[in-house]
């Protein structure tokens, strides 16, 4: 496993010059290591070949005329002929909002800081849903999620998977969070506590 990771680090360009030299020297003396590297390089070549396909050139020849047509029809669809229409949509949206508000639905709840409502919604979800939504949030918010919002075992899982050296040069472990690894390591209860931490830190 460690050997595999070393090969991947080499391929990803993560080794320093010294480490790279050491790895290459090690490879000369280890047929197994060499074999592993060649296998991974072969997979990458195969993947690259899968990506180079022949396509119908007419699509690209017609793209610009299609685009011009689309832009022209887009202009025609504007409200320039009927300026009054431009006001109808916002007015209808506001009217709709006040119509449905008495029934308890307020789409601005979360934005206006009604975190308790959101926390209540989360506690009603089943475990799988909690973790799934968390996955989407992790991908979108990975720049803002800090390791201290994670439960201990999830943070540990992240460290075990990636190794401390990956964190060097950054003060945010979240930058390197692997969503899949993380989601495999959290239970529904822990996902709920992550939401709670995110709410407390005003990420949500």
């Amino acid at each position: 496993m460690k050997m595999n990771d070393e090969v991947l680090r080499y391929l990803a360009g993560m080794l320093s010059e010294d480490e790279k030299k050491k790895f290459e020297l090690q490879m000369e003396n280890s047929p197994l290591l060499k074999e592993k590297l060649e296998k991974k390089e072969r997979y990458l070549r195969e993947l690259k070949a899968l990506g180079s396909v022949e396509a119908d050139s007419h699509y690209f020849e017609n793209l610009m005329p299609r685009l011009r047509q689309k832009m022209a029809s887009g202009k025609k669809k504007s409200f320039s002929f009927y300026p009054g229409l431009a006001y109808i949509i916002p007015v209808l949206a506001i009217a709709l909002f006040f119509l449905i508000k008495p029934f308890g639905f307020n789409p601005f709840n979360r934005a206006s800081g009604s975190s308790a409502e959101f926390a209540k919604e989360v506690s009603r979800m089943n475990d799988r849903t909690k973790v799934e939504i968390l996955g989407s949030l992790m991908e979108n918010e990975s720049g803002t999620l800090q390791a201290d919002i994670l439960p201990e075992n999830a943070a540990e899982a992240v460290e075990n998977t990636m190794g401390e050296e990956l964190y060097q040069g950054t003060d945010s472990k979240s930058q390197y969070l692997d969503t899949d690894e993380l989601l495999n390591s959290v239970s529904g209860d822990e996902a709920e506590s992550i939401y709670q931490n995110m709410i407390n830190k005003k990420i949500l």
């Binding site: 595999n4 690259k48 990506g51 119908d56 685009l67 991908e139």
Partner: protein, 184 residues
């Protein structure tokens, strides 16, 4: 040199030469489409993103500041739009708002027509779909667009260290997937 040529086209377009825009489209349309296609995994979505990007280009080019290369700017728009599209799709799927015949529609009018090429690109999609969005983005930009980490960093605004870590995880997943496929 290529950058200077791009700047010349942009200046000509700003001065009212519509042909200059056509030349820029001719130069970048394939890069835009194939990046979106590899990110989104089907023709319909890639076509939509390609058109969106070109429209943004047309409307915003007049405010281009000549501080970064046009190439970086176009890739930044394409990468952002592709990710937005993926996120939108994820939300639609989650809320059951996706068209019921989305799977049929997504390949309609596909520009990859013959069976052998179709099989190739479908096989690639099946491997790439295992990658979370950010890992897929780095993998596509490095392996298919052949960009350096520094160039990718300019496009995505992420640090080189972070990109390397993303690429490491992407490599791990795709090579495991390929191995699994090989052994099946």
């Amino acid at each position: 040199m290529a950058e200077e040529k791009d700047f010349e086209y942009v200046r000509r377009f700003i001065n009212g030469d519509e042909m200059a825009f056509n030349l820029l489209v001719q130069k970048y349309q394939q890069k835009i489409y194939w990046h979106a296609r590899r990110m989104l995994g089907n023709h319909m979505d890639a076509d939509e993103v390609t058109q969106e990007v070109l429209i943004v280009l047309y409307t915003k080019l007049k405010s281009f500041n000549f501080k970064s290369s046009l190439f970086t700017w176009i890739y930044r728009i394409t990468a952002t739009r592709s990710i937005n599209h993926l996120n939108k799709r994820k939300v639609k799927r989650f809320l059951f708002l996706e068209d019921s015949d989305y799977d049929t529609l997504r390949d309609s009018g596909d520009i990859v027509e013959d069976i052998e090429n179709k099989e190739k690109i479908n096989k690639l999609d099946r491997v790439l779909e295992y990658l979370p969005v950010k890992q897929r983005e780095v993998f596509v930009l490095r392996n298919y667009d052949e960009l350096s980490y520094e160039e990718i960093s300019k496009i995505t605004g992420r640090s080189v260290g972070g990109l390397k870590a993303n690429y490491f995880h992407a490599l791990k997943k795709v090579t495991e997937r390929m191995e699994k496929n090989e052994n099946e």
